[in-house]
Symmetry: C2
Subunit: 362 residues, 2 copies
């Protein structure tokens, strides 16, 4: 069976060489006589794996020493609660500001409302989330405990290309669908977190990068397992971490370093997205509904404007080996998620297929 | 490299045939053209995997229809908070009774104290947890929202062989280190939960089996991700579940069914434990410190009474391919964790090695 071009929004494609390495050592890792899945997380062998994964991620993202890197569980959705539980008492106001740029930002905001005084300072809901909201910094609260954004909005195919200026208020960003896809200056964030299942590895690992002054402020009701400080003090091993997922993430980090790191990925991703968006801008059949300046590098949405035609396209594409192109159920249409592991070749071939489909459906 | 005999308490040995099957299909699952790790959790292909895993587990454990089976994240330690967050308002008293049979029961009890009126109704702390506590049912509170036990105490090598009679109060059991090792009557429990990394699969999956009348009572402060009802309604896919870990668990379930199910495992485990305990009872060097009636089938602890000799034994055993025999740091000595995946041959060879060590160290 040939590998398909998998445009899934997540879980999504992993680099073939990463999968092949994992396959080779699945039953027996090195000279250990066991699978990584069978290793005690307290063993020296496993510590080498997790600490190397962290070191490689620090190198890839240029993470300063005053930031902790945590490997947690529960995905971004768990962070929607974990962030307010840990930060809402940081400066004792219990306030946080949110930009509502889509479904996941909205869910995060709703969840935070259980725990504090939450303000939506900008929203693009009225535009169907087809753009990043325009914001007015005068509406930001200077005494908020944190300020929250979702950097890349997977469902709609939008991304922040500049950051809101929040002054001394720590900026918290969900970078689940853009981590390692382009260079970010981590020092601009108080917390940046990401579920692994897009650019990192299998689902079940959440990466949390947190500035160390934000540790130690958890509300009393915070479960121990959701207390960032506890996890930071225990190097993410307060209890058994998702050992195999972290190992897979480490393989991806090694692969990215071998490919020139995030700078090289960013250049490739810009070119990959350009090929697809250029076609969408030319096409008479397909078009991208997003405000141009806000277009995502990772998720390109497109529609024909005719639901039957959309469905026919998805069906034909699937049969041709371009799978998971159906848009999110909440918006319909199509979406090509083109994370780091999607080769340029996959996009070139998809565009050729779309051109042919367009010619056949005039 | 030959496989070692891995006596780790968890993560621990998995059946070789399970690992080999996972290896074979790691890069490409069936005709899918992708790895299981790359599959959208919303795809039909993945739904088949997770629903079959659930069906097989239901068959293995004879789980009735009025119980939900959830695949969650965070390990047993997350359940220490999740149980009180979901049950402490079930009958509106906010009370729960705990039996303190060891470190993990104690941690669970401490965590629950954040959320309600928690009573320790029995403890074996004074005995160094070398036995299951004797209990007096008159001390149990009839109006408690739940009653909590840890069925098998990994660190000390003890297990409950009978259940406390709690009347109408739902019994909640941490079965992390004994799930699928012997037959349990699930109808005796309100909730039984287990981290996967002992008898099921890789770390990062938590199995929660919950009677459906216990759903829907979560405290307001409960994070959405920790609300059993939300996860039950969404078949564990409120957000992206740990897809690969669940797939691996499913492979183990298939394997167990092919081996005759839990009844067959129980017979094998009784025999495996007998071989080891019989030797420990005869040995002049090694002895098992646990009250005989409470001995675990899964974790057999033993000591020489001399810390230097213990260390020398662990070192020699490791060199001979019997690894991870060091006892938990809190109790010292040795521990052989002999979960389902440990073949009888591993125990026979370990006993032979111990006999030789004893002869050499007279």
């Amino acid at each position: 069976m040939n590998r398909v071009y998998n445009f899934s929004a997540g879980p999504s494609m992993l680099p073939l060489s990463v999968l092949e390495k994992a396959q080779k050592e699945l039953v027996c890792y090195g000279e250990s006589g066991m699978s990584v899945m069978e290793m005690s997380h307290r063993s020296k062998m496993y510590e080498e794996i997790i600490f190397k994964a962290e070191a490689d991620l620090r190198q890839l993202m240029n993470i300063p020493e005053n930031y902790k890197v945590l490997f947690l569980q529960g995905g971004a959705s768990m962070q929607f609660a974990q962030v307010p539980l840990n930060l809402l008492s940081a400066y004792q106001t219990g306030k946080a500001d949110y930009i509502n740029s889509g479904n996941f930002a909205n869910l995060a905001m709703k969840e935070a409302k259980r725990y504090g005084d939450i303000k939506e300072v900008a929203s693009s809901k009225a535009q169907g989330y087809s753009q990043i909201p325009d914001w007015d910094e005068k509406k930001f609260r200077a005494d908020a405990d944190y300020f929250y954004i979702c950097m890349n909005n997977t469902i709609y195919g939008t991304r922040f290309t500049k950051l809101p200026q929040t002054g001394n208020v720590p900026l918290v960003a969900d970078i689940s669908s853009c981590i390692l896809s382009q260079e970010y200056d981590i020092t601009k964030f108080g917390i940046a977190f990401a579920g692994a299942q897009k650019n990192v590895g299998p689902a079940g690992v959440t990466i949390v990068i947190i500035r160390d002054d934000l540790l130690g402020h958890a509300l009393d009701i915070t479960p121990t397992m959701l207390n960032y400080q506890v996890m930071a003090e225990k190097d993410s091993m307060y209890n058994t971490p998702p050992t195999y997922g972290i190992y897979m993430a480490g393989l991806t980090f090694e692969y990215l370093l071998s490919q020139g790191g995030v700078k090289a990925m960013e250049q490739r991703n810009i070119e990959k997205a350009r090929i697809l968006y250029d076609f969408l801008d030319e096409s008479k059949l397909f078009h991208n509904p997003v405000r141009k300046c806000d277009r995502s590098l990772m998720n390109a949405t497109f529609v024909t404007g005719d639901a039957d035609k959309d469905a026919a396209f998805v069906k034909a594409a699937t049969a041709a080996g371009f799978v998971n192109l159906k848009g999110h159920r909440s918006v319909g249409g199509m979406r090509a998620s083109i994370y780091n592991a999607m080769p340029e070749e996959g996009i070139v071939k998809l565009v050729a297929f779309m051109k042919q489909f367009e010619a056949d459906n005039k």
